[in-house]
Amino acid sequence: MKVSFFSTCLVDLMTPKVGIAMVEVLVRLGCEIDYPASQVCCGQPAYNSGYLEDSKLAMKNMMLAFESSDYVVGPSGSCVAMFHEYPKIFKGDPEWELKAVTLKEKSYEFTQFIVKVLGITDVGASLDGTATYHRSCHMTRLLGEKETPFQLLEHVKGLHMEPLKNSDNCCGFGGTFSVKMPDISEQMVDEKSSCIIDTEADILISADMGCLLNIGGRLFRKGEPVKIMHIAEVLNHQNPVIAKGGSQS
């Protein structure tokens, strides 16, 4: 199956290892990966800040970049959810509306693609440790995907999952919200961090780099030894031993 990889600007700039893990997992599952090099950003930061016209440029670029793809798969529920907003944004635009609908229909978040398109829940990963999972708001609410990460994590050998209290509450990232209103955001990420620490898990997993960057950045600042892992890294993990350490993605 031919899959176009949607790397997101955060992965490009900050966390290439997440992209690498995702590609390796998909290749192992039999996908052929292609990478449309002209992709940049889904347009979310500008769109959510109210800069509609500026954000449309980024969106159009993405529609063109993935025009000939069969499937578009990305490691971020939030950015994929943004693709799913395109049809609303370009509604009534004769040149772009159809392109927007097409992109929406072929775009999947990484875990969603594995479970719903490939029909796989056990990717053969193993990771020894106790983890907790942070649901990202955009993945659960805007993309409407709640189950697939858990279905996959259930089959990771050696991994014990601890439930997270108030897991529905936002971590305070919200893209530009966290830079525009850092004080409020800080209180939100603090509460999230305390809930994570209370689980006594060694690892925090999520399917969104934005949230991980935010929560991880706070945990690290506070000197908390929780390891941050994107779910692609977990699913790509086959070494059963993991030490409790203070590394940050």
Binding site: A46, N48, Y51, F220, R221
Partner: protein
């Protein structure tokens, strides 16, 4: 009190809220318990999503035919001997009510909780006219006794106070001497209020929904204070926002179900009544009934891109799930309508001059949209406000410049490629031990409390890895 409750800057107000650990605890634990209660009450109703759709359809249908239903309502109220008054502005609304009271030569007024009377600044107007006015909803009564502290929640106005604070207010203002047990406090208040009900000449209530084909209003309260306010005094004046109307009892039933379950996680609240002008021969109830229908900016919202905001049934569920409200509290919004719905309607009713920050006080997590029983796409409406604020050039020029630059960068593969190459070397100047410690204005607040690693070197980038992989596999 009027719409605006605090003229200070948004940032000053949030600093206050964030610093009030007491209030944050109260709000946080109220949110946590309401969330569970709401969920179980919603599930008990069967297919909650279907109920929400029904609620949304009823509200949309009514809004689309608002003229028709308002006319029907007016006709039916007048037929039954009641009076109906359409007020275009808040001033018109409160002066009409004052005039009725003056004409009755009434001095003692009891009132039950109503957001729209806050909006039209009624308390102030009546007190100036020399009336003794008493709020009879326990929450509102506490706020009144605490020198008219503004409400911080649309359903539970005194959510920001705990019983110790309430005990203190009662002790200072009313000579209460007992402890802080909620039962004793409530019993004390009830005794004071009972006397007020008996003495009052006019009762003023809000209106959850007006029922058009009956010429009646529907009140939903937890304590029954609304019913006493309406039933005991000789004159009853009800005040409603123009959009709070349903065609018949059947639609009211659906919405009351959604309202009670969303607001307090109960099947129904303790008191749900339908009342209006008394029929000839009735032995109880008021002799005179007035309904004041308040526009105050609502007809401008009708049919606009914010039309859906008028679907709101004021259940407060969006406040009860909002993570921003959780931490800054209701007063930080500076409006009688706080939380997500407040961030949507306050700028509509009060303008961007005073309230342009509110639409940005959201992480767009969409918890509000997800919970709203009548499916208002709240987070999308916040984005729409942001677009208008940008369109009107109300954001800072620096931000506009940065957004333009970032917009260009993020839509141009060539520019972005260059950025990826230079991001690491450029960030070296701002970093210490691989973490960014200084930065442009834009991220200063963020890195003040969080660690941010440097962008990766070009040779370690994802694209470099892909190229290498391609080379290796010979593709």
């Amino acid at each position: 009190m009027s719409l605006q409750t605090d003229k200070r800057d948004f940032s000053e107000r949030t600093t206050d809220g964030l610093g009030d650990s007491f209030m944050r605890n109260a709000v946080g634990s109220a949110q946590d318990s309401l969330k569970t209660r709401r969920l179980s009450a919603a599930t008990a109703l069967g297919d909650w999503e279907q109920w929400r759709t029904a609620g949304q359809q009823i509200r949309q249908h009514t809004l689309q035919n608002l003229d028709y239903y308002l006319e029907q309502l007016a006709g039916n109220i007048e037929k039954k001997g009641g009076h109906i008054y359409f007020a275009a502005t808040k001033e018109e609304a409160s002066s009409y009510i004052r005039d009725v009271i003056v004409q009755k030569q009434a001095k003692k007024i009891v009132k039950s909780k109503s957001m729209v009377t806050e909006e039209i600044d009624l308390n102030h107007v009546l007190i100036e006219a020399g009336c003794e006015l008493i709020e009879t909803d326990l929450g509102e009564y506490i706020l009144q006794m605490d020198d008219w502290d503004p409400p911080s929640h649309i359903v539970a106005p005194a959510l920001h106070k705990d019983r110790r604070q309430i005990q203190r207010v009662f002790a200072e203002k009313l000579g209460y001497t007992d402890d802080e047990s909620p039962e004793k406090l409530a019993r004390f208040a009830r005794k004071v209020l009972r006397q007020k009900f008996l003495e009052a000449e006019v009762g003023i209530t809000g209106c959850n929904f007006a029922v058009a084909n009956l010429g009646a209003i529907n009140l939903v309260t937890n304590e029954g204070n609304g019913d006493l306010t309406a039933a005991i005094p000789k004159t009853h004046i009800a005040v409603m926002g123009m959009e709070r109307i349903v065609p018949t009892l059947a639609e009211m039933e659906v919405l009351d179900n959604l309202l009670c379950r969303s607001a307090v996680g109960q099947k129904l609240t303790s008191y749900i009544t339908v009342m209006g002008p008394s029929a000839a021969g009735d032995t109880d109830g008021p002799e005179e009934f007035h309904l004041v229908v308040v526009d105050n900016g609502r007809s401008d919202i009708l049919g606009s891109e914010f039309n859906e905001a008028l679907q709101c049934i004021r259940c407060g569920a969006c406040l009860n799930v909002c993570p921003v409200y959780r931490h800054i509290g209701g007063h930080a919004y500076g409006s009688i309508y706080p939380g997500p719905i407040g961030a949507v309607i306050t700028p509509l009713l009060g303008g961007y001059d005073d309230f342009k920050e509110l639409p940005f006080a959201s992480s767009l997590c969409a918890a509000c949209t997800d919970v709203c029983p009548v499916r208002i796409p709240l987070h999308e409406q916040l984005i729409r406000h942001r677009q208008n604020i940008v369109k009107e050039n109300r954001t800072g020029s620096m931000e506009r410049f940065q957004m333009k630059a970032v917009g260009r960068l993020l839509s141009s593969p060539a520019l972005f490629g260059k950025t990826l190459r230079f991001a690491h070397p450029a960030s070296r100047l701002m970093s210490k031990h691989g973490r960014i410690v200084r930065g442009p204005e834009l991220i200063r607040g963020w890195i003040g409390s969080r660690d941010l690693s440097q962008p990766v070197k070009q040779q370690d980038s994802f694209r470099a890895w892909l190229d290498k992989r391609k080379g290796e596999s010979g593709q």
